[in-house]
């Protein structure tokens, strides 16, 4: 098996799903001739033609509007946001229309909205967003945020095959930094299932996307000090894998949640509430969070470094929790 980047895994998923199902179409800004701003869709136009790989005007609302129409007409559109920050332009369409269409009119919208997200690449306040929680909070949408090449491919395939609208976040820091061997044959990864990336007995670190790798790095630091952290990768943010979360907390009795999203209203709060409701008597310490600060993502590299969690910050919180 060849080593495949996170980005290549996504490209393969798109390619294979379009090959498998003629109703799958891709639309977005520069996805065709240019092959996508990050080259995620390179070669797709040549293989599937301009009717299925559509270069759109620079209008995110036009992209989502067209995708909804395509869904109603029996297609399975994959809409790309060139940077996920601009999904905010489509907030009304996604939360009021896409999310409620099946509920209100019995008209399913089997579309995927995907795009590069996240910081750590000095993209500044308009090209580094983590807007997942707006949509996790919206009933009717599924939200996926993978951390490995294997999951990115398997989950994007699941998302395209799912009959509900699915938002698929691709952390751009991982695009070319993560490489792994993935199977050549067709496979999917189920939506709504978390994965334990590292077993541990002393505390659980729950994370997702780029911060999952940061958490693993922290766990390796901690291991040298005799603290064995369990690292869980959520993979899907909605529906959330409550069973996996509770099982791990019941095992280690201590919980740290790490995310790159800003602190207030991040998923750590929701997870903490679930654990307090369902497993209060299994807790041997407070539920801690390591998150980005409640500010826009700074452009200045030193400020961005200060803004984002890193392995040392995660390890410091974990040490405090282990000592508690």
């Amino acid at each position: 098996m060849a080593q495949v980047t996170f980005l290549e895994a996504i490209r393969q998923a798109l390619f294979e799903e379009m090959e498998r199902d003629p109703t799958v179409v891709l639309l977005g800004e520069d996805v065709g001739v240019y092959g996508g701003a990050f080259k995620v869709s390179a070669g797709l136009l040549e293989r599937f033609g301009w009717e299925r790989v559509i270069d759109t005007p620079i209008s995110e609302t036009a992209i989502i509007g067209a995708a909804v129409g395509m869904s109603y007409a029996g297609l399975r559109p994959v809409a790309e946001m060139q940077f996920i920050d601009f999904i905010a332009c489509c907030f009304n369409q996604l939360t009021n229309f896409v999310a409620k269409s099946h509920y209100r009119w019995g008209a399913p919208v089997p579309m995927v909205v995907r795009g590069p997200s996240g910081g750590g690449v000095h993209g500044g306040p308009f090209h580094s967003a983590n807007p997942e929680m707006y949509f996790v909070h919206t009933p009717g949408l599924k939200v996926i945020y993978p951390s490995t090449a294997y999951d990115a491919k398997g989950l994007l395939k699941s998302a395209i095959r799912d009959n509900n609208p699915v938002l698929f976040f691709e952390h751009k820091f991982l695009y070319r930094r993560i490489k792994e061997e993935i199977p050549a044959e067709d496979y999917t990864v189920p939506i709504g299932k978390a994965a334990v990336r590292r077993e541990g007995r002393d505390l659980t670190i729950i994370s997702y996307a780029a911060m999952m790798h940061t958490s693993l790095e922290a766990a390796n630091l901690l291991s040298k000090e005799g603290i064995e952290a369990e690292v869980m990768d959520l993979r899907t943010l909605y529906p959330l894998d409550r069973e996996a979360i509770l099982a791990s907390v019941r095992k280690t009795n201590k919980l740290l949640v790490v995310h790159e999203d800003t602190r207030t209203g991040g998923i750590a709060g929701e997870i903490a509430a679930i654990v307090c409701e369902e497993a209060f008597e299994d807790l041997d310490g407070p539920i801690l969070r390591v998150t980005s600060l409640d500010t826009p993502v700074p452009y200045s590299p030193p400020l961005e470094e200060r803004f984002l969690p890193n392995a040392e910050k995660v390890a410091a919180a974990a040490r405090e929790l282990a000592r508690f």
Binding site: N253, F280, E281, D282, L283, D284, G285, F324
Partner: protein, 449 residues
Amino acid sequence: MPVDVIMPQMGESIFEGTITKWLKKPGERVERDEPLFEISTDKVDAEIPAPSAGVLKEIKVGEGQTVPIQTVVGVIDTDGKTSAPAPAKTEPPKPAAVETTPAPPPASSRATAQAPVAATPAARVDGEKVRSSPLVRRLAKEHGIDLAQLCGSGAGGRISKKDILAAIETGGAAAPAATLPATGRAPTAPAAPAAASGVPGGQVHIALESAVPRQRMYFGHYEVQPMNVMRQRIAEHMLASKRVSPHVYSIDEADMTRIVEIRERTKAEFEKRHELKLTFMPFFIRACIEGLRAFPMVNSSVDGTNVVLHKEINIGMAVALDWGLIVPVIKNAEEKNFLGLQRSVTDLAERARNKKLKPDEVQESTFSITNPGVFGGLMGLPVISQPNVAILGLGTIQKRPVVINDAIAIRSMVYLTLSYDHRVVDGAIAHQFMHKVKTALENWNENVL
């Protein structure tokens, strides 16, 4: 500091309440949230918990008096001295309830003596709050460990998971396995570990535990009927049983044609000879005994991680009463002949209805039978009567078309339902047990006269 005890507002449209009973006398110590007095309003009767811990200093409104809500009915002195000898410091006073839970193992002196972390209990200043965690408090309760006797190794002297596990490991909890005889007859019922006690006793006031805010129950025209004591005990018992035992239900049916014929043929002679009506119950009991002998796990109780396999077969038999339900027990049913079983069934049911049962006649069942069929029920899925692990429900016996050898025949059929505790009884055993019962019924060959 004196704290006023007020007549609470028990519902939006309640303006006054009557004190029916004070549960504490002036000078007695009371813990926070411990039932302090009972009230009766035009909507509910309730026990009112103490607003804070202390000594009941004064009763201002006596029993039988009706006062508006918010009236001060008594005063608690939070740092007062009891006039009676003070109870032991580490032991909270028992609530004034009818039933008591078996006391948890005493504050573990063994933990103090053996656990290394408990070697310096003096490190905690008297009265200082014990710092722990929800997990630690739960484990302490389950294992009967007094946290005040432990010293914590966590941040700020907090008792952590590690500390409590060490205390348990070194003997903080007397393992039930070590104290109970493995077989044989225990002279007295051993004190159950706190976690395994079936009925939580007087601690839980079922009448006060509701799934929705109580205001939502009172609307339109209604009448409020206080539960009698038996009803309250049934409510507690059923709730505890469902909480403790994971119930599984299996259904089978038996062809009763042969037994119906035998009964028709012999009932007149039976009654004449023994002055006793011949019912179906002894047939079912007899069949269950065969099943229980073959599958002793169904005739057991669960005590923590021990299974208590009973050597006697004592059949509890649910008897519906106008004012509730009671389960008298036919002791040593396996030693009785058919006539003896019928005599016990009739005698116990009759005395149950006349309130003449003795306390020991409703205890020590090892398996129970209930008969929703007498009220015409096709089948029922009963709740296990604790400390049993299974209960058999009998449906009504009715003629139904049945396929026998590819022909449709009219047979007297009955549905048998078994509710069982999946902690110890698996489906495989339950179904084999049911099959044994069914076979015994269908191939009845004992002379009943």
